[in-house]
């Protein structure tokens, strides 16, 4: 799915005061592209993502989401927390999207189990989320998004609550899935290294109002393993983005 927003602004009221969450955003995410949005807290990244998902109406401007072949419009969100329904088991959570598509119970299970097994959740199908670690929960959420016949994934700091090692593991797993499926991914994070490692392109947002202030295309060769983090090329991209971030937040 190609996602385009033109001249996009979102305002809302908080305690009666108008807040300009995002302003004048022009963004074009290509089919199959992995794009990350980084920025300090309160720069409107989450608002932008929810607007792309259609959960928030833009105050001005447009969001255009072009399905692959005029099919249904399916862009799924993955949240940082509360990403799973606490009252559903792992299997029920993972197959929720297919259930909403009207897929029967048998085929739903067939679609979910191999992927859950691959992520080490094979023995946990009947568990409830409160019995899982944060990393396992996020894996289930990612499996759910990937098997629900998505055209794009919109991920809102999905790994922010993870410890460093689990985060590295999930980044690796996400990249593998993305390489196989080639779905468009818009990934919001405040972790610069995560953004660089994962993405084809990184955009930097500044707060109040949230605008795009810098953009960097990441040319580093894929697949990118953990060692990429100390490559000179990686470090120079990181330096440039850090400067942009610093300028934007006036730190």
């Amino acid at each position: 799915m190609r996602i385009r927003c033109t001249d996009l602004s979102v305002h809302y009221r908080s305690n009666q005061l108008p807040v300009q969450a995002v302003q004048d955003i022009d963004l074009d995410v290509a089919e199959g592209e992995f794009l990350s949005i980084v920025g300090p807290s309160g720069c409107g990244k989450s608002t932008l993502l929810r607007t792309l998902a259609g959960l928030i109406e833009p105050t001005r401007g447009t969001v255009q989401r072009d399905g692959a072949v005029g099919g249904p419009d399916r862009a799924f969100l993955v949240f940082q927390e509360n990403s799973l329904f606490p009252w559903m088991t792992v299997l029920q959570n993972a197959t929720f999207g297919l259930k909403m598509l009207g897929v029967g119970q048998g085929p739903r299970k067939e679609a979910a189990v191999p992927l859950l097994e691959r992520f080490g959740l094979g023995g946990r199908l009947a568990n409830y989320p409160h019995q899982l670690s944060v990393g396992m929960k996020q894996r289930v959420a990612i499996v759910r998004a990937f098997i629900s016949r998505p055209q794009a994934l919109l991920m809102d700091e999905p790994f922010a609550a993870l410890d460093w090692l689990s985060r590295m593991a999930l980044q690796r797993e996400l990249l593998e899935l993305w390489r196989e499926e080639r779905k468009t991914i818009v990934f919001v994070t405040h972790d610069l290294e995560e953004a660089i490692r994962l993405s084809d392109r990184v955009v930097v947002m500044s707060p109040q109002p949230g605008r795009i202030v810098a953009e960097e295309r990441i040319q580093i060769e894929r697949p990118r393993d953990d060692k990429v983090l100390v490559q000179p090329e990686f470090l120079s991209v990181k330096q440039r983005l850090l400067d942009a971030l610093r300028g934007s937040a006036a730190l």
């Binding site: 959960l55 799924f76 969100l77 909403m100 409830y128």
Partner: protein
């Protein structure tokens, strides 16, 4: 190990109180008229049981309680859900509920007897009213406590209104509603016995009242222990039910 520890922790206070009771009554420190020895209470309990009086009292209390509880809780949950779903319903019911909440429900009994006669109806409606208030507030809280994130998530996956209700709203609200149902059951039992006590009815409350009137403290204690035992059983039963109905809750 853990189980034994839990049992020990839960029972040391009742056991110590029991020991104190035995000590006080066998040493002759208190007049048996005020505090009968456990053996005497047990004998009176067995006598009432063998005559069927105890079962009859329990039966009558439970029937009124169950009827009032089911009516009141059903209505209360519905009203609470409606209040959670509609600002209009909430604003309309709010004054009535806050007025009733602060009123000692028992003080409504004379009025209800005037309106509904002297049969079971006034007792039953008082129990129902008590349950209604508790469960309505719980259901309202339950609906208001649902995180918008879950609704967004379901919508994002294409869930319609009905699917959101069955997959998100209903299960998300269930744990809090259950807490209300559990609270209401205890209140219902207490209210039933209180009404029996003041209206000279049979039932466990009646048993206690008659015992007090005739200075049979042993029977008084039988009544009190019966009431306490019923309360505990009820609580355990609802806990069980809750675990079945809400299996996703983390152990508290």
């Amino acid at each position: 190990m853990l189980r034994f520890g839990a049992i020990a922790t839960a029972s040391w206070i009742p056991l110590s109180l029991g020991a104190l009771w035995v000590g006080l009554t066998t040493s002759g420190a208190v007049d048996p008229l005020f505090l009968p020895p456990p053996t005497k209470v047990w004998r009176e309990g067995s006598r009432l049981f063998s005559m069927g009086e105890l079962q009859a009292a329990i039966g009558q209390t439970l029937v009124v309680m169950a009827a009032g509880y089911s009516l009141g809780s059903f209505g209360g949950v519905l009203a609470g859900l409606a209040m959670g779903g509609s600002q209009f319903v909430r604003a309309s019911l709010d004054p009535l509920i806050s007025a009733l909440l602060a009123t000692p429900k028992l003080s409504l009994l004379p009025l209800l007897m005037l309106l509904l006669g002297l049969g079971a109806a006034p007792r039953l409606s008082l129990v129902a009213l008590t349950c209604f208030l508790v469960t309505a507030l719980a259901a309202l809280d339950a609906v208001r406590g649902i995180s918008q994130g879950y609704v967004d998530l379901a919508r994002n996956y294409g869930a319609g209104r009905l699917e959101i209700f069955t997959n998100v709203l209903a299960p998300a609200a269930l744990p809090v509603i259950f807490t209300g149902l559990r609270l209401a059951a205890g209140r219902a039992l207490a209210m039933t016995i209180a009404v029996e006590l003041v209206s000279g009815e049979k039932g466990v409350g009646g048993l206690i009242w008659v015992a007090w009137q005739s200075y049979s403290t042993d029977r008084l204690f039988v009544g009190l222990f019966t009431a306490a035992g019923l309360g505990m059983l009820l609580h355990l039963l609802l806990r069980r039910l809750e675990k079945k109905a809400v299996p996703w809750q983390a152990e508290a």
